[in-house]
Symmetry: D2
Subunit: 386 residues, 4 copies
């Protein structure tokens, strides 16, 4: 067999001190599928350079701007230039950068939410289509093995027809006015110009929505929402409640909040059908609890007996050796690498090489727009734009 | 000191095989405050007699009807006749029987929901008022020691101003069409004539609502609801979702369902304020989890250090000796006994002798009416009648 | 059918402020099988009288001494006199009182440990034999429904041949020198004259041992122990570690301690066989976790699907309505009542009417003696006397 | 600042299909501190080559043997040759390879146990001493952030003087005779020639022992053990029970087993002092539970408030984003890299750059020898060789 070279990654954003950029780098590094070789980490020149040095990059490939990176990398010979760009900037840059990168012939791994609004999301979708490049969206939580197990079990009908879908994403870190106190993470997330239509809604409500539809296989038909801003002076919502009506009759509730003081990163999904239900919580991600109408509950465990093949493909260690958030994220990078290496087709949901992308992104932006519009009106139920 | 005689209890409903009647009897018996001495357990004569015999009752005090019991007991000398009536029938009998018992001079412990509708609830309230007798409503869950601890901590401001209130009550036992298959418990609960306006809503939604307002001390100002009947042929809702807006700005979600296949009796309350939040789940009732913005989470335990005096008053055993549902129920009977013995005043929420009563009942029936009306309309937000 | 009268109970010990006497009374009262009618609660006359009054006893049946109670009750006509005596005194009185009560023709429910030593245990056994009366020993934890479920599943071979038995009982309340500071509970438990050979060993080590043998069905053949007294000045052990070798090859560890500061009442049993294992913890007693070599772990739940009939017979409420310590205790009283009413034979382990008695008591006292002897010697392994 | 180049790693063992070699590679790769550049992965030439290709290695640096790797790498210019060797072979090769690598001037990261016996361990210690190179031993579990938090809290006296130390490591994967059925992992682990004196004892008992001493800061003074082989035909122990007596009076129990059918990787440590205790379990590693004599239990969480600086240094993500086994392992590689880069001294326990090494290894081999000797004798208590 031939030696397998790592794919080459360029990154925009993610300078020293940023959170999610470092996660992308670890996720890309853990399996040896990727090597970070280029970056435009910060518009602050010193910070940009320091980040490049800390990461051991060739200084010629630490660029002053995203545009400079695209231009210079494009000019390098194939085999040397980057294969893909990781976009880990605030939200308002996602769309222009994604489109530029795709049009420049690079694959893209972008942070969520996809864009500021649905119109931008459609523009990215069009760019992905015309470029023939892959576009991955960091809906990290769908990379967890037990999320795949949950999806697989719903899909094969273990629970019968689905009736109830409950998803919640509960954080507390924005309980005080961090955004007004100079916290960088908080600041841009609550600025409509950089975050988009939704605050908490865009930041974590989108994760919850994508997870719910991805696992249940059900599509939201209409919704009724309440958006609140609890912290005085904040410019975007910090608390989201949504009643959901799904096609085929399932009903649900989505709750996302960033002011549940003391809560960490409480993403939890429950799906119930006629015969039983599943329960998965991100903070203890290696257990999927199944409850049944007619027999004792089961704890299906990462690495344990009874898993789907597509779940096993997302695991690295035997049962009882906990894998976590970075590994879930790495599963996304691994799937993107496999897809790039394997050719053009994007794998269907559930395949070992599936990753969240254009369809998930457009759908979540339609969700964001519907929630915002409904919350601001006297109308009880609103549909989602296609 | 003088010898303390047990109070005398008569029961209507609760014949052999019924669930909640037996619970009332155990709850009344555990502390020695009450002795069951009379009953009209069933309209089926044989079942009525057998129940009386099994319970060791004097056969003269096993009555053919509720009216016969009231009349005969009233005719007995004070000190011999019953002090109170426990009403454990289907819902449609709660109001007429409560009113008759109060008017006959007996205290009442009644199963929830209070009545078929708000009008009846007001009529009971009036009867309690004019009779000067005590009326207790079996919102059992407020009898748990750690629920009292939760209430006490919110009341003393541990969490700061309250922002989020999430309550859920998830059962799965009505996932199949038990009501059409002759299950007695299921049958009357889904019959509008006997259950009232709400199915799941009246049966367990009322518990969730009472718990949320009782613990948080916040009052729902308006709500927006979705009521569903998932099981074909069922005549009342089996799934309830409600967005809640509280006075003073708190927001919440109430979710109650009886079709979460595999779920048992999943009542859970979370309340978050500016500084932290509490989390209590009925199925593991001896732990109250507190999470904080600025320090590690705490597990406050029944019998452990740091409890309010009013919590301690609801406990029987040292830490680590689990008390459960029957003990919570017994706390209600204990409080009613203390109130009867002590005189006329009903204790305020949080007092050792507090029990849920008229105010809780009227309020929950207003909730039921508002949810049903809102669910059937295109109006987004509805207020609660006073 | 004939009316079923409650059995009549007399109690010795358990005056105001005592812990376990109150538990016996609640346990006896919850199901209506028993009525407390007589007592010699304290050698302090005032305390004795006050306790009688608080409990609503006829003052003629509040006796100055245990002997007075036996004599007076024996003189009452059958049908009026007590059926059984509950002995809830410090350990040194268990044997003389049990023997006197049995010889006077009363059934006995006695607190554990059975006696000060094995010799006394044999004397009680002889008294029970010659009197034809029933002797129940309050190994409360074997009354939990899920303990019965555990026992039933081992007995029917679900796990294959048993290999590992791990039992631990971890408390922290004796971490400081309470015994030297006037705490009554602590004081007599650490006094060899009143507690017997073992401190922690006798108080809770006996529970752990009885539970392990009862559930596993395996018998300890030899043991190797380490007894420690951590708190300076304490006269008996407060920490126990024992290696166990069972007949048929199973191995085990028993750990009991009362100086695990912060621990409450942490009794836990794990039993593993060739195919899987069980895990039960007293502080969350309504779940029995089963783990398997070849399939996902199961959470068998009190009231849920898949329970043995003998488990169901020990439950009072549907799934999700937690039962606790008092209900477990009540199952013992219920079984004793059923046995007294039903005739002479003591039911075999696992029967609905089984309760721990003479055999469990003698066996645990042999265990206590073996542990103490082994701990004090250089011998590695010691057998248990028969 | 200067660009930071990754350190260069060579690996021996860890060919396609091996478990722990892949974990070492992920752990080394996740933070970008290391790059795998050379290997002798298997004595099977095809497997060796395929592994090199899969990992993208230059084929010139995929060596036929460990000796060839040492010789060739040593001949490369500094800056190009490997910095360290990762030894991930069966146990019998640990000592000769470690010594050869150290003597050739390379740093070593070796899998546990250190060696076949104490004599070999001393020989490695001597080689490390004379070479001036760093020797790290993969006691992975001490790399978990919350293990460091536990250690830090004991060290600063939060619990007062330590009294109880309980450690258990419960696996079930060797419940059946996998070793006789061709399972490679099982086969060598149960072969005395390749595994050493202990089976389960050497494989996981050593982890438990190291964790207990590392966190508690207490040293075992004497022990009393029982070693069992439950599976017929197996040549080494598969079940270990040890009573421990620590210097300064603490007592403990160590339980390690590989025949707890259904258990996964259940490493758990509890340490109790006069004032409270800690509880940490590897399968949910991001929570450290603290229980106190005088206040509610706390759940200290990875990334949450209240952590020691040395804990924070071992974390990569904010609270609620679970890190797991691979990240714990990576902390070891990170510390080794920091130590190599920073100069010669090995950091003391608790420092950000601390990693387990020679001292831990020698100590655990002394433990293994003492357990085996004691188990085979009639002597009750045995000391540990220095």
């Amino acid at each position: 067999m031939a030696r397998i070279e790592p794919l080459k990654l360029g990154m925009v954003g993610g300078g020293e001190g940023a959170f999610i950029g470092a996660v992308h780098r670890m996720a890309a590094g853990i399996d040896g599928d990727w090597r970070l070789v280029a970056g435009a980490f910060s518009t602050d020149e010193g910070r940009n350079r320091r980040t490049g040095d800390l990461l051991g990059l060739d200084e010629a490939r630490v660029y002053d701007s995203f545009d400079a990176m695209l231009a210079a990398e494009r000019a390098l010979p194939e085999g040397e230039r980057i294969d893909a760009v990781a976009i880990v900037t605030p939200n308002h840059l996602h769309a222009p950068m994604s489109i530029a990168a795709l049009d420049a012939g690079f694959h893209v791994v972008c942070e969520k939410p996809m864009s500021l609004n649905l119109e931008e999301a459609h523009a990215i979708a069009a760019a992905a289509e015309r470029s023939g490049r892959h576009y991955a969206l960091a809906f990290t939580y769908s990379g967890y093995p037990m999320v795949e197990e949950a999806r697989a079990r719903v899909a094969r009908g273990d629970f019968g027809a689905i009736r109830l879908i409950q998803v919640e994403y509960s954080q507390g870190w924005l309980s005080s006015a961090l955004d007004a106190e100079g916290n960088r993470q908080a600041e841009w997330r609550t600025d409509p110009a950089r975050a988009g239509l939704g605050g908490c809604l865009g930041d974590i409500g989108t994760h919850a929505f994508q997870l719910a539809e991805h696992v249940s296989g059900c599509r939201v038909e209409s919704l009724c929402s309440d958006l609140t801003t609890h912290v005085p002076g904040r410019r975007l919502d910090d608390d989201v409640s949504v009643l959901l009506r799904f096609a085929d009759g399932a009903r649900g509730v989505l709750k996302a909040t960033q002011v549940a003081a003391g809560d960490e990163n409480g993403l939890r999904l429950r799906v119930h059908g006629e015969k039983g239900g599943l329960d998965w919580a991100q903070m203890e991600p290696n257990t999927l609890t199944l409850r049944w109408l007619d027999r004792p509950a089961e704890m299906v465990r990462a690495g344990g007996p009874g898993l789907a093949e597509t779940t096993m493909a997302r695991l690295r260690t035997p049962a009882g050796h906990p894998e976590g958030y970075i590994e879930a994220f790495a599963n996304l990078y691994r799937a993107v690498a496999a897809t790039i290496r394997g050719g053009d087709a994007v794998a269907p949901a559930g395949a070992a090489a599936w990753f969240p992308g254009v369809a998930d992104g457009v759908r979540t932006m339609a969700f964001v727009e519907a929630v915002v519009a409904n919350a601001g009106s006297e109308q009880k139920w609103s549909g989602l734009a296609e």
